[in-house]
């Protein structure tokens, strides 16, 4: 994870790919739901939420689509087993690690950086437990995973990586902070 050299009011780190699985299942199908619970050990999160347990984060994308992120090497074998079992049910789990590229935005102006392109009420989210949003940033799709109010993980399609770096350079330039007069 190396820091991108930017004259910016937040710190931006390029993480690159994170080992991840796209999961799709019918949550009324007991078998596939139990496969997830047994292998991953995390409840299916509700809308806008992401639940984390020892290096695995399960994010809600829609009522039949979830994104599973893995930050610990030793979970790899567990994931492969899960993938096999899942694909035997009516659901599906597919490796999508190369699909996205992740960035980390750090700093207390992190939320303000996103306000330059995300048309959502970011302040309203209770940042207590992790929130996960899939929305738009300017003209591209973005995933936002709130670790805390000043530490936000974002990901875009890998083909938008350079566009995203340009976006940080333009939109988080020092001096363009969002400030209120009082």
């Amino acid at each position: 994870m190396d820091k991108i050299k930017l004259d910016s009011f937040v710190d931006v780190y390029l993480i690159g790919s994170l080992s991840s699985l796209n999961i799709r299942l019918d949550h009324t199908d007991k078998k596939s739901v139990s496969v997830v619970k047994k292998n991953i050990g995390i409840e299916l999160p509700s809308a806008q939420k992401a639940l984390e347990r020892n290096g695995l984060t399960l994010c809600f994308v829609s009522d039949d689509e979830y994104l599973l992120l893995n930050e610990k090497k030793q979970n790899e074998s567990l994931l492969n087993k899960f993938k096999k079992q899942m694909n035997l049910t009516t659901g599906v789990a597919e490796n999508t690690s190369d699909l996205r590229v992740w960035f980390l935005i750090k700093g207390d102006q992190a939320l303000n950086a996103l306000k330059k392109g995300v048309p959502i009420n970011l302040e309203k989210l209770q940042i207590s437990e992790t929130n996960f949003l899939r929305t738009k940033l300017g003209e591209i799709q973005i995933n936002i995973l709130f670790k805390s109010y000043n530490e936000i993980l974002v990901s875009v399609l890998r083909s938008h990586k350079e566009y995203m770096i340009d976006w940080f350079e333009v939109c988080t330039k020092r001096g363009t902070e969002i400030n209120f007069d009082f």
């Binding site: 694909n87 009516t90 599906v92 330059k116 970011l122 309203k124 300017g138 363009t176 969002i178």
Partner: protein
């Protein structure tokens, strides 16, 4: 002669001089001066020329409602035309220039229009310039266009940094005057997020300027304490220098932040705010009375003359006559008198008035004449004297008063633009003479409930006492309506009751003005719309207010009628003999004040304009100087020219390298959609025209997708990974469209099918290796066995190249022996380089999309988007074989059975070989049969393989014409003749690709 007082001016810092240039003259102002106040301080009364008659124009107001003082400011890439001098603060060495005159501001050649004004009444250009016909194009229009427009456009590209900022708030208070501040205090600590936008650089609005000197201390204390309260409360955020410019549906608000003072680099930001409720406190704008010669420089709105005195210590003139119909304007006379300015007379249109301000003016020895108004103004490019006449009668002059400034006030008009942008209606207040918001027809939010509350000046409530009395009450009602549970807000009212300012409304004086005078009574200063113009519009039948506005261009200038539309509507109503409220008013539209186009574009221009998608092999492509071609959002390598190799040679080299040796193509942009589930086969049978459920695991099958109307819209190879999983490949341009198409059918029509899809387009990259030596190159890797029986045509296998996992498809778009290698994107560049190294001794070369187009055209394969344009069916393409006869239902089946797709003459795909083999048919040229077009060319190239030109085309009953020759028209007048053949020119039996 306007000048600067030795002391005073709350906005200026007299220690800091600022040099600036006006029309080349070096002038001085103070830090904090606007261009307007600085010009007035230097006795620059003449500042502009009007649009139509080029009459001399002076500064008329002190705010964004200014119709006259428009300047070109700045240099080079920061130059900007049509800037209101009243809004921009002067900066060191700022270069200000007046506009729309030649050779100079003082001597403007085009002011001859003014002499010929009688011939240029409203709408004259509809009645003339008709004969002779060509004259309009060659003489009249060029002449009019050269004289049109105000400022000059910038020459250089804009270096400014603009930005869009999204924000959400429960309550947005627009305007930081007394009403806004009181509303903010009343709304704090209620668990609501409140945002207040104030367009000025300081809060307070008018109530500090308009107060009497003895109240100043009391008001100042209230102001300071209020600001302290707002600063301390967490849930209130205040933005200065931010003007709300537009209200849209569902609580979407645009605000333009333009802070000129602070050192922030973002000088210009467009705030996109979502709000639940809006508290409108935008105050009111003073309205002039229309009198003869009222457009001379030196004539100004009464309150604005006072603003210049108090904010900038600037005097409009040292002998000022006030003409008004209300008590409130007397403050201007009083305050100017108190600084020693001679106020020879106050002309009051009313019969009498005993208000305190009138008494105070009398006590100061100011002569007050009731029932009088201005009958004429003398002076060339400035005011020398005014003629007094009675308000009734046709305006004969009773007395001439020499003076060099005139202040005028016809009362105040509530600022209702923002109320009206999104559904809010207005009602006419007959006795006060203005439109104000109709409390029963408010703008509504998404839920149909009212979402805007107008308070203070913009609701027609002007006096401080009334505002302080009503605002807390209205806010508490508003809070209870929104079921916001919290204590009622009460605030002591420190203001004293004041007399009503607007007295009986007066719009145009004298009432019986003669025809000649009416031609010198200006309503819209910038577009030179006179009282006589509106009378002419009414006379000619343009009775609807919208017709009158368009016919006379009233209120169509850059101030959008802020100080002129009410007076214009009054004159129209008098001419038609109808009451003003039956006339109605024109529509208020965003933006409230003009905003830069660059601001609307925001930061998403230049580098961030329309995001480019780059493949994992993009870096290699750019290093090897690929020419780029935009395909959907991607950029793809079009060709890889060598140093000073022309494009034609590059394409020939790349095509022949595939035909003779082996070529490498970056086709990562191919759409890749995984379809998984027990009903996956059944779903794909419904989507594709041919059977997919019968596809065996490990095999591939080419498929065509049509829409319900039977027209082809995408194609690609489908591979069956296992019993429940298919991988559908689509065209690059169609990837997202097809994914959305699958989701639409699965979610809204066939939601009983147990199928899930995942868009894996960017998870895998795809590298095509094609040519006679393709297999040999791959065989150099020990770990891989591609013998024909191991991997026959239209099959795939998963294997490893060294340690890189790949899925090798034996499919071919070029017609050669070819493999497409799917690899996880992170290892794509590594594999690409491995293949190049391995293929070196086989003379491997990369080829681009154009070479691919030539290769597939030689083979006769179609490209969706070239051969098809959304009106072409599989049958037209001669692909009946791909339309399943057995399937019960699929998208397009009904359409194929329709009479029109079969009976009528259809354009069919054919190959076209020109008789002269060197002649290449032009792109998109048409086939002719006795003069009528019967078809067009869809793809046309010179084929390096066959050393002749080839083309594909869609020709009426094409297949039955095969063998015959046809005439093709071309731009160079002589036709080209060509023979129609089967649409395939190379290796028809497919021995190469199947070998």
């Amino acid at each position: 002669m306007s000048s600067r007082l030795p002391r005073g001016g709350s906005r200026v810092n007299r220690e800091k001089l600022v040099d600036f240039r006006f029309n080349g003259k070096n002038l001085k102002g103070f830090d904090g001066d606007t261009v307007a106040s600085a010009l007035l301080a230097n006795n620059e009364l003449l500042v502009a020329r009007s649009f139509k008659y080029h009459r001399p124009r002076g500064i008329f107001t002190a705010g964004e409602e200014e119709p006259n003082a428009l300047m070109g400011i700045g240099e080079g890439s920061f130059f900007e035309p049509n800037i209101r001098a009243t809004e921009v603060k002067i900066k060191q060495n700022m270069n200000v220039n007046s506009q729309n005159h030649w050779p100079s501001l003082r001597f403007d050649f085009l002011s001859i229009n003014n002499l010929l004004a009688r011939f240029f009444a409203a709408g004259f250009y509809y009645k003339t310039f008709i004969w002779p016909r060509a004259a309009w194009k060659y003489i009249f229009e060029p002449m009019i266009r050269r004289a049109s427009g105000l400022g000059k456009a910038p020459k250089e590209y804009d270096e400014e940094h603009y930005e869009h900022i999204y924000h959400n708030t429960d309550i947005l208070i627009i305007g930081g005057g007394l009403a806004g501040i009181t509303a903010a205090k009343a709304l704090r600590d209620r668990g609501l997020s409140v945002m207040l936008c104030e367009k000025d650089s300081v809060m307070g609005g008018r109530y500090l300027q308009d107060c009497k000197s003895e109240d100043r201390e009391r008001y100042k204390k209230l102001y300071e304490s209020s600001i302290e309260i707002l600063k301390k409360s967490k849930d209130i955020a205040v933005k200065l220098n931010t003007c709300v410019t537009g209200i849209f549906d569902h609580g979407f608000v645009l605000a333009y932040e333009e802070n000129q003072g602070l050192n922030v680099t973002t000088k210009k930001a467009l705030w996109k705010i979502r709000v639940k409720n809006i508290i409108l406190c935008t105050g009111a704008i003073e309205r002039p009375i229309v009198f003869p010669d009222n457009d001379l420089p030196g004539i100004m709105l009464a309150a604005s003359a006072r603003d210049y005195l108090q904010k900038y210590g600037v005097l409009l003139g040292d002998r000022l006559v006030l003409t008004t119909n209300n008590d409130y304007a007397y403050k201007t006379a009083i305050e100017l008198k108190q600084v020693g300015i001679d106020v020879p007379v106050v002309l009051d249109a009313r019969a009498s008035s005993d208000g305190p301000l009138v008494k105070e003016a009398g006590a100061l020895g100011i002569r007050i004449l009731f029932g009088k108004c201005i009958g004429k103004v003398e002076g060339k490019r400035k005011v020398d004297a005014v003629g007094i006449c009675s308000v009734n009668g046709e305006g004969t002059i009773e007395e001439l008063i020499s003076c060099n400034a005139v202040a005028v006030s016809g009362g105040w008009t509530p600022n209702v633009n923002l109320w009206s942008h999104c559904g809010g209606k207005l009602i006419w207040d007959g006795d006060l003479g203005f439109y104000r918001p109709d409390p029963d027809k408010t703008p509504v939010g998404k839920d149909g409930e009212t979402n805007m509350l107008a308070l203070g000046g913009c609701a027609g409530v002007f006096s401080n006492y009334d505002i302080q009395d009503q605002v807390p009450r209205k806010i508490n009602q508003f809070a209870s309506r929104l079921k916001i549970k919290s204590k009622r807000y009460i605030e002591p009212n420190i203001f004293s009751k004041e007399l009503e300012r607007n007295a009986p409304p007066v719009f145009v004086l004298p009432y019986g003005a003669s025809k000649d005078k009416q031609k010198r009574m200006y309503i819209d200063f910038q577009n030179d719309v006179k009282v006589s113009d509106l009378q002419l519009a009414a006379q000619e039948g343009f009775e609807n207010v919208e017709h009158a506005k368009r016919y006379t261009t009233l209120g169509m200038a850059t101030d959008q009628g802020k100080t002129s539309s009410i007076n214009g509507i009054y004159v129209l109503s008098q001419s038609l003999g109808k009451s003003v409220d039956t006339i109605g008013h024109t529509t208020f539209r965003p933006p409230y004040k003009p905003i830069p186009l660059g601001l609307i574009a925001g930061q998403y221009t230049k580098k961030l304009f329309k995001p480019i998608k780059k493949t994992p092999i993009d870096k290699w492509n750019s290093i090897n100087n690929a020419i780029w071609e935009p395909v959907a959002d991607w950029r793809r390598a079009y060709a890889y020219p060598k140093v000073n190799e022309n494009l034609e040679d590059t394409l020939h080299r790349e095509v022949l390298s595939v035909r003779k040796n082996v070529g490498l193509l970056d086709s990562s942009t191919l759409g890749k959609i995984m379809v998984k589930g027990p009903d996956a086969g059944q779903f794909l049978d419904l989507i594709y025209t041919n059977m997919m459920s019968s596809l065996k695991t490990g095999k591939c099958r080419y498929g065509l997708m049509c829409n319900e109307a039977g027209f082809v819209f995408d194609d690609g190879v489908v591979a069956r990974l296992n019993e429940q999983t298919f991988l559908c490949h689509t065209t690059s341009g169609g990837a997202d469209r097809v994914y959305a198409w699958f989701e639409e059918w699965l979610q809204t029509e066939w939601h009983h099918l147990k199928v899930f899809i995942i868009n894996l387009t960017e998870q895998y990259s795809q590298i095509a290796i094609a040519g006679p030596k393709a297999r040999e190159v791959l065989q150099t890797f020990k770990s891989i066995d591609l013998s024909p029986d191991k991997l026959p045509f239209m099959h795939f296998m998963e294997t490893y190249i060294d340690d890189i996992w790949v899925r090798v498809y034996r499919i071919s778009f070029s017609g050669e022996l070819s493999y497409e290698l799917a690899v996880n994107s992170n290892q794509a560049e590594e594999l690409w380089n491995k293949l190049l190294k391995a293929g070196k001794k086989y003379k491997i070369q990369p080829y681009g999309t154009e070479a691919l187009h030539i290769l597939r055209a030689e083979k006769g394969f179609i490209v969706v988007g070239d051969e098809t344009d959304g009106t072409v069916t599989p049958q037209d393409l001669g692909m009946e074989w791909i339309v399943s006869k057995k399937k019960n239902d699929f998208i397009g089946k009904k359409a194929f059975s329709l009479p029109h797709l079969n009976a009528r003459v259809r354009k069919q795909l054919v190959g076209i070989l020109t008789l002269d083999t060197d002649k290449v048919l032009p792109d998109g040229c048409h086939a002719l049969e006795d003069g009528k077009a019967i078809g067009h060319v869809t793809s046309t190239y010179f084929s390096p393989t066959l050393k002749r030109s080839i083309a594909l085309g869609l020709i009426e009953n094409g297949r039955s014409r095969i063998g015959s020759a046809l005439e093709f028209e071309s731009s160079s007048k002589e036709s080209i003749f060509a023979k129609l053949v089967d649409p395939s020119f190379y290796d028809m039996e497919g021995s190469k690709q199947n070998g």
